[in-house]
């Protein structure tokens, strides 16, 4: 293969330059007189130096600000903020409890994230940085305690119940028909929480089987990612009926929007709702204070208001 070597021959500093190209043997030489190419004539609208400099300055400023925010680790919550992972059925009850807690302990700030207990359990195994976990199924905190991820012991804070709920303009008389309401022809879609990872979904499916209607309604079930999304499905009318948590059904947002029927407690396994404080928490004091608040008299009263049964003290 022939190799072409390029030399830049001597030229003055002006625009014209002379190149000499030769092959290996230097037998063949070519001299080229190059003019500086006129690049970017009107394409580059930013020939103006001022614009260039100010663009780079603002660019640099944004980069610095970004790295500053990145490096400062400002995403690490300051110690006074408690992060709580709570089962979705506690959506309204826990909001009230947090508000009441803030009155007693104004210095503490609590951020609650609601979701399905199974999801949180999976996240905890991947190192999710919550301080406190309120699960709708005590089995999850128990498993966390077994893997050594918990500080303090698992605590039982409530017993949950499920209801059959229909929107208020539904023709179905759910209080008279009970579970048979789900067999009505006007009920096309029944919303339940996903039994794979939501305890209320598992309870709903268990109740449907125990009351011998599961086979007839199985094809009409739609699954919500957690019990709160399930409630949203029915409340918005997307589903015609739903098996919801009692705590959601009696909440102010849902109470006037529909009617419900309490599923008999013996139709599904007892819904023991338990919680645990995480060992990785940086806020053990506040976490313990909040846990004791929820388990205390005022907390129990609020939970009772939202339809939870309470464990013996």
């Amino acid at each position: 293969m022939r190799r072409i070597v390029v030399h830049r021959a001597r030229g003055d500093a002006s625009s014209s330059k002379i190149l000499m190209l030769h092959d290996q043997s230097r037998m063949n030489r070519i001299y080229l007189n190059c003019q500086k190419p006129q690049v970017g004539i009107n394409v580059v609208n930013i020939r103006n130096h001022f614009v260039i400099i100010s663009t780079w300055l603002s660019f640099g400023g944004v980069i610095l600000a970004g790295f500053g925010a990145f490096a400062a680790g400002e995403d690490a919550t300051p110690p006074a903020v408690l992060t709580v992972a709570a089962a979705a059925d506690l959506r309204f009850a826990l909001d009230d409890l947090v508000k009441d807690f803030a009155e007693q302990y104004p210095a503490a700030k609590i951020n609650v994230t609601y979701g399905s207990s199974g999801n949180f359990f999976a996240q905890f195994q991947n190192g999710a940085p919550f301080d406190l976990f309120f699960s709708a199924d005590i089995e999850y905190p128990r498993k966390l305690a077994e893997s050594g991820l918990g500080a303090d012991n698992v605590f039982l804070y409530a017993i949950g119940c499920i209801v059959v709920w229909v929107p208020k303009d539904s023709p179905v008389a759910v209080d008279k028909l009970g579970i048979k309401a789900l067999l009505e022809p006007s009920i096309h879609k029944i919303a339940v929480a996903n039994p794979e990872h939501a305890p209320y979904g598992r309870a709903a499916v268990a109740a449907l089987r125990a009351l011998n209607v599961y086979d007839q309604v199985a094809s009409r079930l739609v699954y919500g990612e957690n019990i709160a999304q399930t409630a949203q499905f029915v409340q918005s009318g997307a589903a015609d009926a739903g098996m919801l948590a009692l705590s959601l059904a009696v909440a102010p947002q849902m109470r006037d929007a529909g009617r419900f029927w309490k599923v008999p407690l013996d139709a599904y396994p007892r819904m023991e709702q338990g919680g645990i404080i995480l060992k990785s928490s940086k806020n053990l004091e506040t976490a313990r204070a909040f846990r004791d608040f929820v388990l205390g008299d005022h907390g129990r009263e609020v939970l009772k208001r939202y339809g939870f049964y309470l464990p013996e003290k």
């Binding site: 390029v6 970017g40 990145f70 992060t83 959506r91 951020n111 991947n126 999710a128 940085p129 409630a231």
Partner: protein, 224 residues
């Protein structure tokens, strides 16, 4: 109106775009100018996040940077914090998710630059890097701008990946799309509507201004 979520989303989008500029331009120029016969594998990998469901991407990112992975453990050893459920983890996931939306317009624009101009610059003695910044980039800037805007807008609307790797922590990983999802679940339709509308208007404004500024059209996808 969840201002923390809005601020978080904007911060995430800005930083992701910057990261993609820094990492994406070299990758794009290699894709545009390389003649390697197996280049198409790299092009396929870059284009993957377009068709991959966000949850799949989020799932694999979670496995790749989680506490049981070498990357996650190295990060934990250096900084003492985990990558999932943190803003930095979101940044990594967003950068991967928006990668093709940045790199493909960059590559398309750079491959339309006349090679003879680049070669002339080399002939005149400018090095590769100087040629890149003085000639290739200025000629390709509409495509670069398109890539920047697309990756910004795409990150702003991200949901599945953030859900998988974020943990919905207020002020840390609760971006605007998660916040809307959360508000709907809380049956707070008014707040959800407000936030969603704000996001819609902002995105529309950003896109309209950007496309208005560069009215000469440029191909978004590489024209081979």
């Amino acid at each position: 109106m969840d201002w923390r979520a809005i601020e978080l989303s904007l911060r995430l989008s800005t930083l992701t775009t910057l990261l993609l500029l820094i990492l994406g331009l070299p990758l794009a120029s290699w894709l545009a100018f390389s003649r390697w016969r197996w280049k198409f594998f790299v092009e396929a990998v870059v284009a993957l996040p377009i068709i991959l469901p966000p949850t799949v991407l989020g799932f694999y990112v979670l496995i790749a940077v989680g506490p049981h992975s070498p990357i996650g453990q190295a990060y934990m050893a250096i900084t003492g914090r985990g990558l999932p459920f943190s803003f930095q983890g979101l940044l990594v996931a967003s950068a991967l998710y928006s990668l093709p939306f940045a790199v493909q317009p960059f590559t398309a624009a750079m491959s339309t630059v006349d090679r003879r101009l680049i070669e002339a610059s080399w002939c005149l003695g400018r090095g590769w890097l100087a040629t890149f910044f003085r000639i290739t980039l200025p000629l390709a800037w509409p495509g670069v701008l398109t890539g920047v805007v697309l990756s910004f807008a795409h990150t702003l609307g991200e949901f599945g990946v953030v859900l998988m790797i974020g943990g919905n922590l207020s002020g840390i990983t609760r971006t605007i799309s998660i916040s809307i999802y959360d508000q709907v679940q809380a049956l707070d339709y008014g707040a959800a509507n407000q936030t969603a509308l704000a996001l819609l208007l902002f995105s529309f404004l950003v896109l309209a201004i950007t496309y208005g500024l560069q009215r000469r059209g440029i191909a978004v996808w590489p024209a081979h």
